[in-house]
Subunit: 493 residues, 2 copies
């Protein structure tokens, strides 16, 4: 390497504290303006087309070919949010958002994200900002109690919670821990090629795509993920799971990991976790539960059956960045035996050694996740839990579920439509009785209206129109308007 | 699953748009107050002790045992930033921050993060917010030109850039793509256990711990990561790399992946990428370059030698969230052949199918990363590039390098101290000539002062005091004060 140690071109004499166009006063002005812009955007969002797509490339076409040589005023940059960015935005915070899943970014969580960026600390080690680690531990313990989850997930025992970016990453780290437990940490040391036999994993054919992705990343291979068929409601067939495990044992494979889903992506089906857990216990498999979207419902007593079986799970995750109104990214992963996860992921180079770590008295979250670095994500969860209160969050969940159930009743009463499954919570899955073509036509007409956006899936071969009710801005009036449009169009299709 | 479909306890009649304590007006007020709080924090940050650690558990001890049942006023929550959070904060944005690496969270990037949270969109597919994808593609193309990187990384050819959370994740996805290319995608389909031979990987013994972590997560096994010894400057010994590759071939292994480091974590050593690339070409290995901290220097012509060899790299990453002042998390990964990465990571379930994806005309970034979901991270990079301008960023880099070189000259002139390596850029590594005990004593005294925070590493067995100069707030006066303290204490130790 021959880089010149000095920079002869430099002639800057300004102190670096003044670098960049923004000083503290400029930040205040721009920050206030941007806060107002966000408030204004959210206030008038209902007047926008939810999901009008531009021509591919048209956003890029508005941007200059090269980065500017000289700094530009922040006022111009913020103005480009309207000019350049907005034409390419699909409005996930819109009250007519019924597609995919709710991705709520509440005002409270925006403030939490802002505070985190403002502090700008790294939480990789306890010692690099103790508040970052301790607040996270504490708030995740709060949630164990608030959601009626088993005490084994509390940090006071051998378990604990950790924030991940997404349920995809949570599944991957859980899978790696499972792989290592099954091989007595031999694959961590010597790799899967030295195992001599295949590790096998199990999830339902309705599970999220991230499980397949994790299995492939972890070197296990797509072939050894058994996608267990679901029953008519979309839940995993435990009899078929058992058959597969026994068959794999007979073949000399090493069954290691089951992912049960509480609320599948397609139709929100709930796997029979208790029965799956019994099989996992018998055969010594790691049980991971993915409750990404529906986990939030556990805040309400009446939905606590959703956590049945959690007391036998080795890991359990849900996404506050979906239904609980914490902005992306924020996934909670609880683990029953944190030592197994840490052992599977820990690398301690000299440059990270410190007295607190050596004392063994603190948690270093770097060992609980794929990245080393981590930002102060617990702040936004803390802000939301405190500002809403558990009571406020419960009321939100109940309102969404009620709206979904009322909506489902209207669908049930419409002769041209059918409910593909009975909605357990806030996702209503329907189809046109005339078949897939009619359902597709219905999807297209609803989405062309501009006030609503719905998405689709296939269930046992049938095209399904999904109505996911959970956006923070959605009111009964929005759901009623969707129902009116949908029922009217259903007759015309 | 037996959850009651309805929620009898619910009696809420408030529209959900009004849910949560904060409405738009409350958000404006709290947002303005928080912006002011951040500006105030940054303005007076120099008066704080950089890294005073509380007793473990003392932050938690200030928090109530349970989450509140009723919502609390946002003013109280924000007040707890001072009361509860601040006592557990290590001040990474402090002008006396000379530890680990610069983790700059500029005002501009805070605003970008705020805008991203305010929009609250998902960028997993082009169609879920086209601006999110197109702005990212465009800004990463800007950086290829601005940093003098090879055209093969431009999106207009077969390559392209993508934002990851960290260099750890970038290394993992690059490694998985390398593993799949080496096995002709056989391990993706059938797992490593069916390979019959071990895949081997190579990096220097100075490389970041994330490389070992990635190798373990990917199922390759710690045993098959060859840590090639470094030379006296900390650079990988290419002769030993060649020996290892040849030895592994002779053993019947399958060499697949080399990670070269441009700026090691310990002493900022630069691996000889051109020579490593030649070996990779001869033996058909994937070359990944990790320039996490030092990559930002490429903005300056005089540091362009740092990119030598990039034209032969299959993947190349750096962290704008370190020296380039973009708040965490923000890693840029460029890839020469995006098709290989996408093939290794793609899973397309029905619920994500859409016309744009089917057309093949758009980029869906979900296939370039571990998670499915992604937030609008390009905004903060765009804000920083525009507000600073390339000229402003270059001036910042040059100022930091000059400060480091001036500081190194003072160390060189002090008989009790030695430079452990000649600093190529902004990291100065020194030791006390009296040995490790004296160096440790020096580290402790500097850190006890409260105005500065330095960290350590070991290099060829010797304890090293690292002075990483790159915090945005650092001025020549701060570096001069550190030098005065350090040189004085060096005589006393």
């Amino acid at each position: 390497m021959t880089a010149a140690p000095h920079a002869p071109q430099s002639s800057s004499s300004a102190p670096l504290g003044k670098h960049g166009p923004l000083d503290a006063e400029g930040f205040r002005r721009a920050g206030h303006a941007l806060v107002d812009w966000i408030a204004e955007y959210r206030t008038e969002i209902a007047s926008r087309h939810v999901a009008a797509l531009p021509e591919p490339g048209s956003i890029r076409a508005m941007l200059p070919e090269h980065a500017p040589e000289r700094g530009e005023p922040m006022a111009e940059i913020l103005a480009d949010l309207d000019r350049v960015v907005m034409p390419g935005i699909v409005h996930w915070q819109h009250p007519g958002w019924f597609a995919y899943f709710p991705a709520n970014s509440s005002y409270e969580s925006i403030l939490g994200e802002l505070a985190s960026a403002g502090l700008g600390v790294q939480g990789m080690l306890w010692s690099t900002s103790p508040a970052c680690t301790e607040l996270e531990i504490h708030v995740l313990d709060w949630l164990v109690a608030a959601m009626g989850l088993p005490r084994r997930f509390l940090s006071s025992g051998s378990g604990g919670g950790v924030l991940q970016d997404t349920a995809s990453s949570a599944a991957l780290v859980a899978l790696v821990a499972a792989r290592e437990r099954a091989t007595n940490f031999h694959s961590d040391a010597h790799g899967l090629s030295a195992q001599g036999r295949a590790i096998t994993c199990y999830t339902s054919d309705q599970a999220h795509s991230s499980i397949e992705k994790a299995v492939r990343i972890a070197g296990i291979g797509r072939e050894f993920l058994r996608l267990i068929p679901a029953d008519s409601k979309g839940a995993m067939r435990v009899d078929l799971l058992e058959q597969e495990i026994l068959r794999d044992r007979a073949l000399g494979h090493l069954p290691a990991f089951v992912c049960a889903t509480v609320g599948t992506t397609g139709v929100n089906a709930i796997d029979p976790v208790v029965d799956i857990a019994a099989l996992c216990k018998t055969h010594g498999l790691w049980l991971h539960v993915d409750a990404a979207m529906s986990g939030t419902a556990l805040l309400c007593e009446e939905f606590r059956p959703l956590q049945e079986g959690a007391e036998f799970a080795d890991s359990w995750c849900f996404n506050p960045h979906k239904w609980m109104p914490v902005n992306f990214d924020c996934d909670v992963l609880w683990i029953a035996s944190r030592a197994e996860l840490v052992k599977a992921l820990s690398v301690l180079p000299e440059y990270l050694r410190n007295n607190a770590t050596d004392s063994g008295c603190v948690v270093d979250y770097r060992d609980w996740q794929i990245p080393l670095g981590r930002r102060f994500r617990a702040l936004k969860l803390w802000f939301v839990l405190r500002s809403f209160g558990l009571g406020g969050l419960r009321a939100m969940v109940r309102e969404h579920v009620e709206m979904a159930q009322d909506f489902a009743a209207k669908v049930r009463a419409q002769p041209q439509l059918e409910l593909v499954v009975e909605p357990p919570l806030n996702l209503v899955c329907l189809a046109h009785r005339a078949g897939d073509e009619a359902t597709q036509c219905l999807i297209d007409r609803v989405n062309a209206d501009g006030r609503f956006f719905v998405s689709h899936c296939r269930f046992h071969g049938k095209l399904v129109l999904r109505v996911s009710i959970g956006a923070l801005a959605t009111t009964r009036a929005h759901v009623a308007a969707l129902a009116t449009l949908l029922l009217t169009e259903a007759q015309r299709v």
